[in-house]
Structures are given as C-alpha cells and as structure tokens.
C-alpha cells in the first residue's frame, strides 16, 4: 500500500514538467442566484460544462448564454463560494450522469449523486456508463407505434384513457386534487402487473418539499415498489439550475434502460415548477421575457424533453420510455401558457376536476375532457370489449344529467340511462393506493355496462363491487380471472362463464 502511494507520487512528480499546458480561462464578472456572468472563455461551446475555481474546490456550471465578450452560466452547486474575479475553466464535455442497474431503489439528485444516505451508488470497480443529460430524441425510423398497455391500476384510466408503453400522457389539475396519487398508484401497480415485464419507474420530484419526497419514498417502499423505482429529487431548497436539470437527467437514466431493451416509466412531478425554474434562470440571464414572462424557447424546453419518450422498434432493441408529465393549474385554468403548451406536446391528458373531487368522485378524472390519442391500440382485447361501451354510456349520462335537472318527468329510456350512469360513476370510484389488476377491472366493467348492477342503489355499488370481486376470486379464479389474465381476451366461453358467475353471485345477495 505504502509502496504504491510512493510510486504514484513519484510518477506524478516526475511527470510534472511535461503535463503543463496553456488553457483558455475566463473571469467571473458577477455571480448570484445560481447564475454567473463570465468574461473571457472565448472557445467555450453552448451547453458545455464549466469549472469555477473556489477556495473549497471546484464548482461546476453550464455555459448557457454566449455573448459577444461574456458568457452567462448556470451554477450546479453552492454559488456562495464563487467570488468576483475567480477563474473559470471550460472542460470540453457536456453534462452527463453515470447510469446503471445499481441506481434502482435509490434516491439521487439531478447530477446522479445519492441523496438517501446509503453511500455510493456504484462500486469503484464497476464499469462506468455515462449518459448525456441532453440528447436528441430517437428518429422516426427507430420508432414503432405504441401498442402495449401500461396498466395504471386505476379503473377510469385503464378503461377510458388507456396509456401505452412509449406514450406521453399528461396528468393535469389544480393543487391537492390527486395528481401525485395517480402517479404513485401507477408505480405501485407496475410491480403487480405480471402480464408484461415490469418497467423501471423513475419519479422526478421538482421543487417539492423534502418531507413530501420522503413520504413518497416511504409509501413506495411499503408497497414493495422501490425494488424497481428510482427517485430523482431536486427539492425546494436546491437552487433553480438543479430544478431545471432534474427532468433531463431522469430521462437520461430512463434512456439507459430503454436502450437495454427494457421498459421505463418517467413521472415528472411537476413541469409547472420546471417552467418556473427555467423562467427564473432566463430572466436572471437577461433573456427577453415573452408571454407570462417566460422566455421564447419555453415550448422547446418541454418539447425536446417529452419527445425523448419513445417505443423503439425491434432493430433498436424494442425498449420503451413512457412519460407521465404532471402540470399544476391555477384555479382550473387549462388555457394558461404552460398547460396549453404541454397539452399540445403530449399524446393526451388526464384532466382532474375540483368539482368532481368535492362531489366525492375520486380519482376526480373528467372523462369528457380527458383523452388518450393512442386510444384503444394500447388496451388488451378484453378491456377493449367492455370499456368501449363505458365511455359512450358515461358521455350520454353526462348529457342527460344536465338536461334532466330541468325536466321533472322523464321517459323510461332516459331514466334508465341516468340510473346506469350513476351506477357506473360509483363503480369507477377507487381509493388511493389500491390499484386493481386489469382482469378484475374487466369483471367490474362487464357487470356495470352489462346492466347487472342496474337494480343496485348507487350508494351500495362500491360494496357490491368489492363483494363481487371477492366472490370471483374465491369461486372463479381459474375459469374466469386467470383466463382473462393470461389470454388478455374475453372469449365467448369466458364471457358465458363470467355471465353465469355474476348471475350466481346476484342470487346469493
């Protein structure tokens, strides 16, 4: 040990003269709030990593604005040690994060460093794989249409707004309405969905309270979901450059798994805060403000991020990266700048409505305003059969319910439709942290849309539904549930078996 240190030192000292070289440097003109203005650095490239020399070691940054004779940079770390006149070097590298299997189950910051107090992520002798934080999205040639479902375990979503692997589905709604819950339920359900390989889930917390992140990690751990989840956290206390970087580095981690031919799911919670961070940086760097004081390239900020979600074709490994961005609206205003941008970028949105939430419809998904542009291509055959009618019936119910408020006497058909609508609305309610396997969802929806629950008072629908699933689990696991699960289809025989099973169940009640 001693010998190796001495030979190492000797080599270093002997090589002293040879390794000295001239380099272009810059000087810090101003510094503050996570940004710095630098004079010099004539050869620096845009987005290049910089190193600020400080008394307590080097602090890294990224060149952002290249001006005539100054450079605007964002600082990734503690900017309080950087002084005016300090020396800045450029590195010739772009920002990248080390990625690998070892990250699963860990909480990291946007630079890929551990945040969970469990020591280094990578073993010192392991192979080092670095992925650039910014990367061009896969081209059209490398892609394939989305066709494999990613079951969220939430009835409303899997039934009416299906999400496929490689899709980008926006979750949008006001504060405190259950956006994060949908995301967490989806992560938990991935471990239980045995029909498809479990995707690696990456949860990105942007500007959230550390207590909330800790709570989410604890919930995921409790449900065994941390075995396939990575949490990237840029907490509220971190400077805005890290908020800005977090989704990009999380996507880089996801891309690593996608390139391995596996599925990955990235949840960006939330992109409104990400846009704020970018606005802050842009304004500090004196880029011209546009609408709502966001800079001109705010659309590109999100489009280049979400374009990286993809389903690769067989020649490229067949992996996928699914993106579930979250946007927080102010007082339900979906026509604000950032919400409209992200709605237009994604392949559909899940719109959560406060009114429904307060009526007790939880998850408060507005089935009328929510869409999935991938549609039923991302549904199993069984789900397609039962859910096709669901969407239609609920749409008719909404129309009639508004109309029926004024009419006191309704004809038989209308009354029945409204009754059915009420039953279905009740049936779609679902508590938090209780994702349902898709075969059970199929049974419930079949019972609901088939009219088997029409005679049940709405208040009892939820209990009857639970009892039905319990009955099916105990009496018909083999001939119905397992068949739907393994084949993904609701064949004629299975349908008959299901129908008789529901009949038997109703007789018992």
């Amino acid at each position: 040990m001693k010998d190796t240190v001495i030979t190492h030192l000797k080599k270093e000292i002997e090589g002293f003269a040879g390794e000295i070289k001239a380099e272009k440097v810059g000087h810090v003109l101003e510094v503050g709030d996570g940004i710095a203005k630098i004079y010099g650095l004539a050869d620096v490239a845009s987005q290049e990593m910089l190193e600020f020399e400080t008394e307590s070691g080097a602090v890294s940054g990224i060149a952002f604005n290249l001006e005539e004779d100054s450079v605007g940079a964002i600082i990734l770390g503690d900017y309080t040690h950087i002084k005016e006149g300090g020396i800045v070097r450029h590195t010739g590298r772009v920002l990248s994060v080390q990625v690998g299997e070892e990250m699963i189950g860990r909480v990291v910051n946007p630079l890929g460093r551990p945040q969970d107090g469990r020591g280094p992520i990578f073993k010192s002798n392991s192979k080092e794989v670095f992925y650039p934080v910014e990367r061009a999205a896969p081209s059209v040639i490398a892609r394939e249409p989305v066709g494999t479902p990613l079951h969220t375990g939430i009835k409303t979503i899997d039934g009416m707004i299906p999400v496929g692997r490689g899709q980008r589905e926006l979750i949008i709604g006001d504060r405190q309405i259950g956006k994060t819950s949908i995301a967490i339920d989806t992560i938990i359900n991935q471990g239980r969905d045995t029909r498809h390989p479990t995707p690696i889930c990456i949860y990105v917390a942007i500007g959230q309270k550390e207590s909330k992140v800790a709570k989410i990690v604890a919930t995921l751990k409790e449900h065994g979901a941390m075995d396939y989840t990575i949490v990237v956290s840029a907490p509220a206390s971190s400077p805005s450059p890290l908020w800005y970087l977090a989704p990009y580095s999380a996507t880089a981690i996801g891309e690593y798994f996608m390139h391995q031919g596996r599925d990955a799911l990235v949840i960006y919670d939330d992109l409104s805060k990400h846009a704020w961070a970018y606005r802050e940086l842009s304004l500090l760097l004196r880029r011209p403000p546009g609408r709502e004081a966001y800079p001109g390239d705010i659309f590109y900020l999100h489009s280049r991020l979400l374009e990286r979600a993809a389903r690769l074709n067989k020649e490229n490994g067949g992996g996928s990266l699914t993106a579930l961005p979250i946007i927080e609206t102010q007082l339900g205003d979906v026509s604000a700048y950032i919400p409209t941008n992200v709605i237009s970028i994604t392949d559909g949105q899940i719109y959560l409505e406060p009114e429904l939430f307060y009526q007790g419809v939880r998850p408060a998904v507005n089935a009328g305003l929510s869409v999935s542009r991938v549609g039923s291509a991302a549904q199993t055959k069984a789900m397609k059969k039962v859910a096709g009618r669901l969407r239609l019936e609920l749409a008719q119910f909404r129309e009639l319910a508004a109309f029926a408020q004024f009419a006191s006497e309704l004809d038989e058909g209308t009354r029945k439709r409204i009754e059915r609508g009420r039953v279905l609305t009740e049936l779609l309610k679902q508590p938090e942290l209780k994702p349902l396997p898709f075969e059970e969802q199929v049974v419930l929806m079949y019972a609901g849309t088939g009219g088997f629950l029409d005679d049940v008072p709405p208040a009892e629908v939820a209990d009857i539904g639970t009892a039905l699933l319990d009955y099916m689990d105990k009496m018909h696991r083999e001939d119905v549930l397992e068949k739907i699960k393994t084949s993904g289809d609701l064949t004629k025989e299975t349908e008959e078996a299901l129908k008789t099973a529901i009949g038997e169940f109703k007789k018992l009640k």
Binding site: E12, E23, V25, A42, D69, S70, R89
Partner: protein, 127 residues
Amino acid sequence: MKYTVTQYAEALAEALAPAGAEKRPSMIRRFLGMLRKNKDSKLLAAIVRKTERRWLADQNLHKVAVTSASPLTAAVKKEIEAVLTRKPMWEEKIDPAILGGMRILVDDETMIDASARSRLDRMFSAR
C-alpha cells in the same frame, strides 16, 4: 442614439492614443461625463476591458500576470519573454499559498498553471 460598448471603446482608444500624458486625465473625465449623460455608466467596466485589450494590441504588448511563491529571477522572465509574440507588460504577485512554481496569465485569458498547489489539488481530487 445608443452606442455599443465596442463603439465607445474604439472612440476612447483612438482619442487617447495621440494625446499627451497631461491631457489624458481631463479627456477621461469628459468621457465619464458623456457616459453619465448618455445613461451608459453601467457599461463602464465592459468599455474599460475592451479599451485595455485594444490598447495592448496597438502597443504590441502582452499583459503577463505572474503569481509565484518567491520573486521571479531575471532568467525566468527572459525565458517567458522568449515564448511570447509581443513584448510583456509585467504584473507580478507573490503568493506563498501556491507553494511552488508559478501561474502565468496572459492577457487575462490564457492560463498556464504550473504551480505546485494545483498539481497537488489535482493529484488528490482524482478518482
């Protein structure tokens, strides 16, 4: 009309060049007055940097700032001078904290760091 930093710097350098040493302070005072009148005082730092760069080029000089642990010997200076394409304008600083060797900064942008301190730092920060 708004002037750019480059325009100010060029005008200042051209005006100062032929003027004698006794005239310069009053010219600079007038220049500062003009900046204030044009509400461009915040550009001053940038103008000074640009003017300095231009002046150095005009005079065929290099600004050579050397930080060393002990005073430079004439032989070392001569060695440095031999590498440069223009004549040096020395700016010397003694800083025992760099331990040994020297740090040379040419024209505020090219750095040759041959100090023992940075060597040691690099040795111990390497993974």
